[in-house]
């Protein structure tokens, strides 16, 4: 496969996921949260996982770091990060990976912070623990990080407790914490969803800038097409626990091929649709405890036919554009 962006270097992917499958079992139901998800991510690439609520985005992201409830969840498949087999790692190696190679940010920054310690202390501790530098050096770097994420009066903010910061500032502080060990991969789970529009765009542009400067790869989960367009190199559209279409952002926006992707784009309201009836998708998203064996979108798809009752094949329209639909074959 020839990838012009990396011509000549033939770099190996940073992340390789193969047939990743996650089930949650309880007495009365099995949730098929993630179903045979496969993808690769190059160093420095930004992949957006786009899908509606409950489609399996967060669980996919957490599976990469094995952050799933231990007894009730079942994770199978193969996950490699930086050439290492994540599912074979010891808890200790995993904790190390989480702190150094991989940073994580969430919708709710309070998840990342301990409320009883100051922001500065938490960032400094992380740097000391993972990089083995002395405290003065770590403090200097923490200050530098707060400046990079554009927190005003950073020296004062280092001493602040998480709850003392406004929503946008807390989100910035969480980004600083995630970047404190210069990760090569950032996992971001709807980090701007709870923010107001004028703050959301600031955080998105900040992430884009940091990603470029640090040459970091990012997997960014969102339900918002507009957010994906602002940040992604490549989009993976998720439905019913599957990647139903993946491709470069331009291709997905201009030439979506999966009927669900098309429906998602036509039902995303924007001004130019004023005066027209919206092309909504009928019905509602699938019950993840009762997924049909074939295409999960079939019950809502206007093109559904008998062939759709079997699992649809992954069709490669081009080396970078995959669609999981019988009509694409």
């Amino acid at each position: 496969m020839h990838n012009p962006a990396h011509a000549g270097t033939a770099r190996s992917p940073l992340v390789r996921a193969e047939d990743v499958t996650v089930r949650f079992e309880s007495r009365d139901a099995t949730v098929q949260a993630v179903n045979s998800v496969s993808f690769t991510l190059d160093p420095g690439e930004v992949l957006c996982i786009l899908g509606e609520s409950g489609s399996g985005k967060s669980v996919t992201l957490r599976a990469l770091m094995r952050l799933l409830p231990p007894r009730r969840s079942f994770l199978t498949g193969r996950i490699e990060i930086g050439g290492r087999d994540v599912l074979a790692m010891s808890e200790r190696a995993l904790a190390d990976l989480r702190g150094t190679e991989v940073g994580m940010i969430f919708q709710e920054p309070m998840v990342a912070f301990d409320p009883v310690y100051s922001v500065g202390r938490q960032i400094t501790e992380t740097i000391v623990r993972h990089e083995g530098v002395g405290r003065p050096e770590a403090t200097r770097r923490a200050l530098d990080l707060l400046e990079r994420v554009r927190i005003p009066s950073p020296a004062r903010r280092l001493r602040a407790y998480p709850h003392e910061l406004s929503g946008g500032m807390r989100q910035r502080a969480m980004i600083a914490l995630a970047l404190s060990c210069r990760p090569s991969l950032l996992l971001a789970d709807e980090p701007t969803t709870a923010l107001d529009a004028t703050v959301q765009i600031q955080i998105l542009l900040l992430l884009r800038e940091l990603q470029r400067e640090l040459g970091m790869a990012v997997i960014f989960v969102t339900h918002d097409v507009g957010v994906a367009v602002e940040i992604a190199d490549r989009i993976a559209v998720m439905y019913g626990g599957r990647f139903v279409e993946t491709g470069p952002v331009g291709q997905i926006m201009r030439d979506p091929r999966h009927p669900y992707t098309r429906g998602l784009l036509t039902s995303t309201v924007h001004g130019s649709l004023r005066g027209t009836l919206l092309e909504a998708i009928p019905g509602s998203p699938p019950d993840m405890t009762r997924l049909p064996p074939g295409c999960a979108f079939a019950p809502r798809c206007r093109y559904a036919e008998p062939r759709c009752e079997a699992p649809p094949p992954a069709v490669d329209l081009s080396p970078r554009h995959m669609v999981r639909c019988v009509r694409a074959a």
């Binding site: 529009a197 004028t198 765009i201 998105l204 367009v229 924007h270």
Partner: protein, 393 residues
């Protein structure tokens, strides 16, 4: 605040023809229709308590001297970021909370907070749908019972109320045979929101206040509910106040749009004026903060830096001056009032409100009423009579 605020009440109110609504708006009334709902100087300040004595130490000026009106058959959109006072405005309009000041007129009659019978009637004619689709449904009752509750309280027999519930289910696109006996938790989010709309319609209201009514829904389902709302408006001749933080959805739904910032109306006007010829620097920033839908034209620079200020003790003068790139001395000193846009020809004739700003009556009557309402802005740099001029662009 200007003491002469009301001097022109009852003055010229030559409403322009209603702007063509999103779906044509067949149910529109005549061009000179008086507002169905009108509000002047609406105010709600919440006390902030603190200290050991738990005394009031500050005030949140959640809604601060808001004026608005809604004409029969139109959709008035209200946008603004969280905490700017949208929900408080909605609750004040519904009389769910008591205003500190202000006058609400519904269908030409003043609504009096101490007139219980009058309030009941207004609450019947105005209904509200909230974001959280669970909040107005009783979890222990089949949804049919919830729908029947309102009509029964208003003296409708159980049989007739049941009949009415079936009609309403059909109206909102839920098959009665399949749904009426279900409980709220047995429905998807979109179905629950349809039930909430049915509940709101049970007493045949004239006006619906939709407060983030589609915000919790997935996009594919949101589109269904928006289609439903526009169809209902056409069929039943309804009037909406449509509140959302989503500028795309408000643009799609509304005939006119009101933009709020920290408890104040900063700009109001016909949808096209707000989205294509916005005047207030905040409206401009809000609109350019919308993510691009074109990967080749991504946003390059954020329009604003920093977070919105704390609504407790908002900045003096123009509340936006701390984030505004045009702000000068007058902005820090004086609070700008809503006034017609400079040079836009919007005139004051649109709804007779222009006169609030004392000195601009001259500007009235230069036509353009066909836009369906005047375009007003609260900005020293952009409004008529400010004495400043700001080159557009």
């Amino acid at each position: 605040m200007s003491g002469g605020a009301d001097t022109r009440a009852g003055g010229t109110r030559s409403e322009g023809a209603q702007g063509a609504g999103p779906q044509g708006g067949g149910a529109r009334s005549g061009s000179a229709a008086p507002p169905l709902l009108e509000v002047r100087d609406l105010r709600k300040h919440f006390p902030v308590r603190g200290g050991i004595l738990n005394r009031t130490v500050a005030w949140v000026k959640a809604v601060d001297d808001v004026d608005l009106h809604v004409r029969p058959g139109e959709v008035l959109g209200i946008v603004g970021e969280s905490g700017c006072g949208k929900s408080t405005t909605a609750r004040l309009l519904m009389h769910l909370i008591r205003a500190d000041a202000g006058r609400v007129t519904f269908d030409g009659a003043l609504v009096q907070a101490d007139d219980a019978a009058g309030l009941r009637e207004v609450r019947r004619q105005m209904q509200m749908v909230f974001q959280d689709s669970y909040s107005s449904l009783n979890p222990r009752l089949p949804i049919e019972e919830t729908i029947m509750f309102g009509p029964k309280v208003h003296g409708v027999s159980a049989g007739a109320a049941r009949e009415r519930a079936r009609e309403l289910f059909t109206l909102v696109g839920l098959d009665p045979a399949q749904f009426i006996r279900r409980y709220p938790h047995e429905l998807s989010g979109g179905q629950r929101q349809r039930v909430n709309i049915a509940r709101a319609l049970a007493l045949e209201p004239r006006l619906l206040i939709l407060d983030e009514a589609v915000s919790a829904l997935d996009k594919s389902v949101e589109a269904q509910v928006l289609n439903l709302l526009l169809a209902l408006r056409r069929e039943l001749g309804l009037t909406y106040v449509f509140i959302s933080h989503d500028l795309n959805v408000v643009q799609y739904m509304s005939d006119r749009v009101l933009v709020m910032y920290l408890g104040k109306v900063v700009e109001i006007g016909p949808t096209a004026d707000i989205y294509e010829r916005m005047q207030h620097p905040y409206t401009e920033a809000l609109l350019s903060a919308m993510p691009s839908m074109d990967p080749d034209r991504r946003t390059e620079r954020p329009p604003l830096t920093g977070d919105p200020p704390n609504p407790i003790n908002p900045p003096p003068g123009c509340r936006f001056h701390t984030r505004c790139r045009f702000a000068d001395d007058v902005c820090r000193r004086a609070e700008p009032r809503l006034a017609p846009v400079q040079g836009a020809g919007g005139g004051t004739g649109g709804d007779g409100r222009g006169g609030r700003d004392g000195g601009n009556d001259r500007n009235g009557g230069n036509g353009r009423n066909d836009t369906g309402g005047s375009h007003l802005v609260a900005c020293h740099m952009r409004a008529v009579g400010s004495g400043h001029g700001l080159a557009p662009g």
